[in-house]
């Protein structure tokens, strides 16, 4: 019997060992799996950025605080007309198979991302490049793309109009290089683990789909000496409660999200492991501006915005785990000042009175109540916010019909314009206000509400062609004021990035684009 007991204890001890011993391998819980290790074939979600950001390094890369800094490029310059950029590449950049990273690798990467046959979801991010859009539409030859290698270590990028934020774009994973020697040999199969080479701080060793991706340090990485981790494992954890349990048991060093409604409990129980900070993301209700919808009337849109008590939604529904906003472009965007929607910050009684008057003016009242259809994708927090918003609109005599559907159905329906009010959100691809404002441009497919303003479109076009950053900022801010004055949509809150981070870790800095390269991180013993 004694033997049995000691045997059981030994077994329990062995089982518990991996939970307590901390190797210099970082374990990150990600809530989705990258669609591919090929940057041209991913969707650009947080988890794509996490994994591919560690495996590949673009011309520009990110510092721990989210600032842009030279990556494979050592420096860059732009021509006076703002149309040609020249990047000088470092000569010690190597792929994990030891081959040098050359300008050609970037040329091929950009060409592939725009090749209609590769069907890259993020191709449009490279549209500032000359002929990019035409190539992606199949209307121009891929060789006409505005990118040329000059020798192995210099890259020229030609644009069709000045794009001041090009360096930030070059830090996006879509602008990662590809090992051209492998792509030419294996085609799309170059990412298979038996072939792949990466130029980032880590290289993949194993990928069990729906379980984990295992990477090890890339010894050929140009800054390998300062990388302290032996490797990074990314575990797919779709269920946030499971993620929390795994983090609490020491199984994960980082969990890339947590349930906002548990924020207070987490703060009380996990202390400084709970990280919550602004990120470049806006949660909003799209209002259907199209004819035939009551929300096509600006007075109705203004009334809806006036009656929304954003602070209450954030405090009561989201437990303070976000920041209320009436602006589309959130706080923290570079070269940009936050704008506000006119009238929505005043006293609530006055706002409600004005809202009632506006609705009456628009022909709605007890005799003719306003019935609106609000669509949201099925998730608890979306439902709670929708219920709260409907309750805030109820005193105005507005009846809300709530329709919820799974995400794919929801977005298909709202893209067809089948709604009056629809939940949506926007997370920045790169740190520039145009990335947010673009979703209200008349010709943008993400303009769910069908907002159309010639003035707004023209300001965006002028801003795009404006090389001077200050003037560009003014134009963009003016454009947003125009859209907010038109009550084009109903922004609700600027979302926060939520992370659980092992307090024994160094090198993690909260940043607005919520990207954290593992090369900067160290695990203290």
């Amino acid at each position: 019997m004694n033997r049995l007991v000691s045997g059981c204890m030994a077994a329990a001890l062995i089982w518990s060992l991996p939970l307590t011993v901390h190797a210099a391998t970082l374990d990150i819980g990600i809530y989705g799996e990258p669609a591919s290790l090929d940057a041209a074939r991913v969707t650009g979600a947080v988890y794509d950025n996490d994994v591919l950001g560690d495996l590949f390094e673009g011309l520009v890369t990110l510092a721990p605080d989210g600032d842009y800094q030279p990556g494979v490029a050592t420096d860059w310059s732009v021509s006076d007309d703002g149309l040609t950029w020249t990047f000088n590449l470092r000569d010690d950049a190597r792929w994990s198979d030891g081959k040098p990273v050359t300008a050609d690798d970037f040329v091929l990467a950009f060409q592939r991302a725009l090749d209609p046959k590769v069907a890259s979801i993020y191709a449009n991010l490279l549209y500032p490049l000359k002929n990019a859009a035409a190539i992606n539409r199949g209307e121009a030859n891929i060789d006409t793309l505005g990118v040329q290698a000059e020798g192995d270590h210099r890259l020229h990028v030609e644009l069709h109009q000045p794009t001041a934020y090009l360096p930030t774009l070059m830090a996006h994973i879509i602008a990662s290089p590809v090992p051209s020697h492998l792509v030419r040999e294996y085609g799309n199969d170059w990412t298979r683990l038996e072939h792949i080479a990466t130029n980032g701080a880590f290289m993949p060793r194993r990928w069990v789909s729906h379980d984990h991706i295992e990477t090890v340090k890339n010894p050929h990485f140009h800054d390998a000496d300062s990388v302290t981790l032996e490797g990074v494992n990314y575990y797919l954890v779709e269920d946030l409660n499971t993620g929390l349990s795994r983090f609490r048991s020491g199984d994960l060093d980082v969990m890339r999200d947590f349930d906002a409604s548990r924020y207070q409990w987490l703060k009380d129980n996990l202390g400084n492991a709970v990280h919550l900070h602004n990120q470049l993301s806006t949660y909003y209700y799209a209002l259907n501006n199209r004819e035939g919808h009551p929300t096509s009337d600006v007075r109705v849109r203004e009334a809806l915005n006036l009656a929304l008590r954003r602070d209450i939604i954030v405090e009561k529904v989201l437990q303070g785990a976000a920041n209320a906003t009436s602006a589309l472009v959130p706080d923290g965007v570079a070269h940009y000042d936050v704008q506000t929607m006119p009238g929505v910050d005043g006293d609530i009684t006055a706002r409600m009175n004005k809202a009632r008057a506006l609705l009456k003016d628009a022909g709605y009242g007890p005799e003719h109540p306003l019935d609106l259809r609000l669509r949201f994708n099925s998730r608890d927090d979306h439902r709670r916010i929708a219920v709260a918003a409907a309750a805030m609109w109820k005193p105005l005599g507005i009846n809300i019909e709530m329709v919820n559907a799974e995400a794919n159905v929801h977005y298909a329906e709202i893209a067809r314009g089948d709604f009056d009010i629809a939940r949506a959100s926007w997370v920045a691809d790169f740190d520039d206000a145009s990335n947010f404002l673009g979703i209200l441009a008349s010709d943008n497919t993400k303009n769910y509400g069908g907002y159309h303003s010639d003035k707004f479109d023209s300001l965006l076009t002028q801003a795009a062609a404006q090389p001077d950053p200050d003037q560009r900022q003014q134009l963009l801010e003016q454009a947003e004021r125009q859209a907010l004055g038109d009550y084009a949509m109903a922004p609700i809150y600027a979302d926060a990035a939520r992370n659980l981070v092992n307090p024994d870790m160094t090198g993690w800095e909260d940043n607005a684009i919520n990207r954290h390269l593992s090369r900067w991180i160290s695990l203290n013993p």
Binding site: A12, W15, S16, P18, L19, T20, E33, A35, S36, L37, D38, R41, T43, G44, P116, K117, V118, A119, S120, I121, A123, N124, N136, R137, G138, T191, R192, W207, V208, S209, H210, D211, H212, Y235, L236, V237, E238, D239, N241, T242, S245, R246, S249, G250, D251, A405, E406, A407, N408, V409, H410, Y411, A412, E413, A415, A424, S425, T445, K446, Y448
Partner: protein, 308 residues
């Protein structure tokens, strides 16, 4: 026997054909598409994607293309997991689900049958009430409640077992999911076994066996157990197929890379080829499991023979 098996397999072909065809078209009429998402795609990019996956072709053409590929054993590429073919994903997920489900069923049989027999033998005593009460609890409490509680207690509070992850199928990682998955099955099997044992114990041949002077142990083990197992056996066929492919809740909670998750994630993402692949695979598995169970009948019930 062989010709019976051949006949059953031949009969399975039209069944599978109907399942595949119905699933193919039902998937396509479901609202929302594989590329609908928070980031609405520019039209030219959506067109490129549709062309890359032949979704721009007329539906009958897509169906014929799919069937043609299927006949060659090609389930096609996954729309969502682009570095894997559907065959890769099934090959990776099935062993996980098989191990998980197999162990859970084994545990369920190992505990459920003795529990049922014991309850039947001690009918209407405290032992019976206790065992059946526990079984009722097992049925009543869903595994999505039990599993996180077990993870919290054994993983977070006591730190004895990992709260999730597969870790290549290491024993510590298996304990909680297998137990969570087995609890309901233990309960079902115990109740089924009890009912059937009571019925068998009341039958004439048991009375005859007792009359011949056999002791109670011989009566139970040699005569009553096998016929009493028949209902459990017929339950096992679909249960095994279901538990292997449908342990999605447990796979989700413990973050295990099994096939059940592909099924649900595939459906949510409108990953047509992945859903079709798992449906076909699931169909084949059910057909095979039912056949195996039918064949096992002859071992347990001498009245059943599959003669040529």
């Amino acid at each position: 026997m062989l010709s019976y098996i051949a006949k059953r397999l031949a009969m399975a072909i039209p069944t599978l054909l109907i399942v595949i065809t119905a699933s193919f078209f039902l998937m396509r009429v479901a609202p929302g598409g594989p590329f609908d998402g928070e980031r609405q795609l520019p039209p030219e990019i959506e067109a490129n994607l549709m062309a890359a996956y032949h979704l721009d072709e007329p539906l009958p053409m897509q169906y014929l293309r799919y069937m043609g590929n299927l006949l060659q054993g090609d389930f096609g590429p996954s729309f969502k997991y682009k570095d894997f073919s559907v065959t890769d994903l099934i090959a990776q997920g099935f062993p996980v689900s098989l191990e998980l489900g197999g162990l859970a069923i084994a545990l369920a049989l190992l505990l459920g049958i003795p529990m049922g027999v014991m309850a039947a033998l001690k009918r209407n005593t405290t032992v019976d009430y206790l065992l059946m009460g526990t079984a009722l609890g097992g049925i009543a409490v869903p595994n999505f409640v039990i599993a996180p509680l077990m993870a919290l207690f054994f993983g977070v509070m006591l730190g004895w077992l990992p709260v999730g992850g597969w870790n290549g199928g290491a024993l510590p990682n298996l304990v909680l999911p297998v137990v969570a998955l087995a609890i309901q099955q233990i309960a079902y099997i115990a109740r089924m076994m009890r009912a059937s044992m009571i019925e068998v114990l009341g039958s004439h041949f048991i009375r005859t066996a007792r009359a011949k002077g056999l002791n109670e142990r011989q009566v139970i083990w040699r005569h009553a157990l096998r016929p009493a197992m028949l209902p459990v056996l017929s339950y096992l066929g679909p249960a095994i197929a279901g538990i292997i492919t449908g342990s999605v809740v447990i796979e989700q909670i413990f973050g295990l890379p099994g096939i059940g998750r592909y099924f649900v994630q595939g459906a949510l993402n409108r990953d047509y080829t992945l859903v079709m692949g798992t449906v076909v695979f699931y169909g084949i598995l059910i057909v095979l499991m039912n056949l195996i169970v039918d064949l096992l009948y002859s071992l347990f019930d001498p009245q059943i023979r599959y003669d040529d």
